[in-house]
């Protein structure tokens, strides 16, 4: 018997839709006031009417997120590669890195404002600082992931250090690097929002503060929706790049369930 099956790609959207329906009917039937929990329809409406304001703040936050995120990638991966090559660097720098991570980034946000003012800089820096560590740690694991037979093999071919790095270490490290970058992609937004909470005159974090101050809960929810869409988009972008760059990678292979 051929039963109708829902395509697996629709699993997520269907659950999301169900939640929205339950939310909407719950709020309407229960008579929950909009200043406590607005119904999804009101949020959607707000998205539509306030789109120009939202877009303005969205653009500001996106700029901070992207600069901080890209900066973290550009700094962390080469640093991890360097730490993996030169033992003494790792022995000296790694403990410092770990120790620096015990300071909550949220706690130094006000300090960054004092140092760098109210503009773009402190937000970018917080996003950068919060993304930096997971990328370094995962990349370092990646650069170390090749088994000893691989270096043995490389030496039997007379490979130079650079050849070994490019042909054996980097490709083996890529899946780990992407794991770190994915984690960082969600953290970057947290960093930028924290920065905006502390001091800002634009951005979604600023808009959230303003909406809360005015007890405009519907706007707060609308901003949250925009923020989560931004997070999903950034994550999806990294995921796309990974699929394109690593068609051979195990996690991809499991998803496709066959040859790519």
């Amino acid at each position: 018997m051929d039963r109708f099956r829902i395509p697996t790609s629709l699993d997520g959207p269907i659950v999301g839709l169900l939640i929205l329906i339950v939310w909407e009917t719950g709020v309407r039937i229960g008579g929950v006031p909009a200043y406590l929990l607005p119904p999804p329809s009101a949020i959607a409406q707000r998205l539509f009417t306030d789109w120009d304001q939202l877009l303005y703040h969205f653009a500001a936050t996106t700029l901070e997120v992207v600069i901080g995120f890209v900066l973290a990638i550009v700094v962390s991966i080469p640093l991890a590669a360097l730490l993996a090559q030169i033992r003494i660097f790792e022995r000296m720098l790694y403990p410092v890195l770990v120790a620096s991570q015990t300071i909550p980034k949220v706690a130094i946000a006000p300090l960054l404002v004092v140092w760098f003012g109210f503009g773009l800089m402190p937000k970018v820096l917080i996003a950068f600082l919060i993304c930096f560590f997971p990328i370094v740690v995962d990349s370092l694991v990646g650069f170390r992931s090749a088994p000893k037979e691989v270096s043995w093999l490389a030496r039997s071919m007379g490979a130079s250090r650079w050849q070994t790095f490019v042909n054996f270490q980097v490709p083996a490290a890529l899946p780990h690097i992407f794991a770190g970058v994915k984690v960082a992609s969600t953290l970057a937004i947290v960093g930028a929002i924290v920065g905006e909470f502390v001091a800002a005159d634009r951005g979604l974090g600023y808009q959230l503060i303003v909406a809360n101050g005015a007890l405009d809960v519907t706007l707060s929810f609308t901003v949250l929706v925009v923020l989560s869409l931004m997070g999903v988009a950034l994550f999806a972008l990294v995921d796309r790049v990974e699929r394109w760059a690593l068609p051979w990678h195990v996690s991809q292979r499991l998803k496709h369930g066959g040859s790519p």
Partner: protein, 259 residues
């Protein structure tokens, strides 16, 4: 007398560890003639891996000398092909590119070697798989690719470290016969490390039997079985006799218990 493909003279190797020096090898003395297939047979801990890293110049003996083609080894050797127990294929390269890494790193003419890579792959029954990724292959196929990678630059000496150890028994028997055919064709000098008695004897002209702690040579056994060897060879009287002799050696040195 021409220089041996590999010659070890009175080789000893001592490792310094936290709990004092450990003698890994003692008085190892043998040579592999050009074109000879020598099996090195012994239990774990008899220094087989140490022998391999000495032969490939990754480590150096504490005493004695290791020579390849008459030249003393004092740095990592590049005139070899290595096959490990795990295939060590590069997951991100397709089958053909996994073989081609060898000429690529060595800076050889890629055009000419690509044809050779295709020929080698066809020879081990992998024609049509050139564009597959390693994860699309079975364990036996993966190990065949790694053998092609070890052969493509035409090295005078092939080092094999329990290459079929990770394969199931049936695939293993198949691979042993394929390797034998390959060797009959190419006549490379081979140092084949294994802990499988049958495999060691079936493939080799001589079997170097080792005993552990410290690794010493118990005996170098001549295998006077006719070529080409076949699976049926293992049922021949002479084969059974040689197996019995090797077992007896291991029993005498306490590697195998007598029942």
């Amino acid at each position: 007398m021409t220089a041996a493909a590999l010659a070890l003279t009175e080789v000893g190797k001592i490792y310094r560890t936290a709990s004092g020096p450990v003698q890994a090898l003692d008085g190892i003395d043998f040579r592999i003639a050009e074109g000879e297939f020598l099996s090195i047979l012994g239990p774990s801990g008899c220094g087989k891996s140490t022998l391999l890293s000495l032969a490939s110049g990754l480590e150096f003996p504490t005493s004695g000398t290791v020579e390849q083609a008459g030249r003393r080894i004092d740095r990592p050797v590049t005139d070899i092909g290595i096959v490990f127990q795990t295939d060590v294929l590069l997951d991100w390269r397709r089958v053909l590119d996994n073989v081609m890494i060898q000429p690529q790193i060595r800076g050889l003419d890629l055009k000419a070697y690509e044809q050779k890579a295709r020929d080698l792959l066809a020879l081990v029954g992998l024609a049509g798989f050139e564009d597959k990724y390693p994860y699309e292959l079975s364990g036996g196929m993966r190990q065949r690719v790694s053998i092609c990678r070890a052969l493509i630059h035409n090295p005078p000496l092939l080092l094999m470290d329990e290459p079929f150890g990770a394969l199931d028994a049936l695939t293993r028997e198949q691979m042993v016969m394929e390797l034998h055919q390959l060797w009959l064709r190419e006549r490379k000098s081979v140092m084949f490390v294994t802990h499988d008695i049958q495999e060691a004897i079936l493939l080799a002209q001589r079997v170097l039997v080792m005993t552990p702690r410290p690794g010493r040579i118990a005996e170098i056994v001549e295998v006077d079985l006719p070529f080409p060897r076949r699976p049926e060879t293992m049922e021949s009287r002479r084969f059974v006799e040689i197996v019995a002799h090797v077992r007896h050696l291991f029993e005498r040195h306490g590697v195998l218990k007598k029942y």
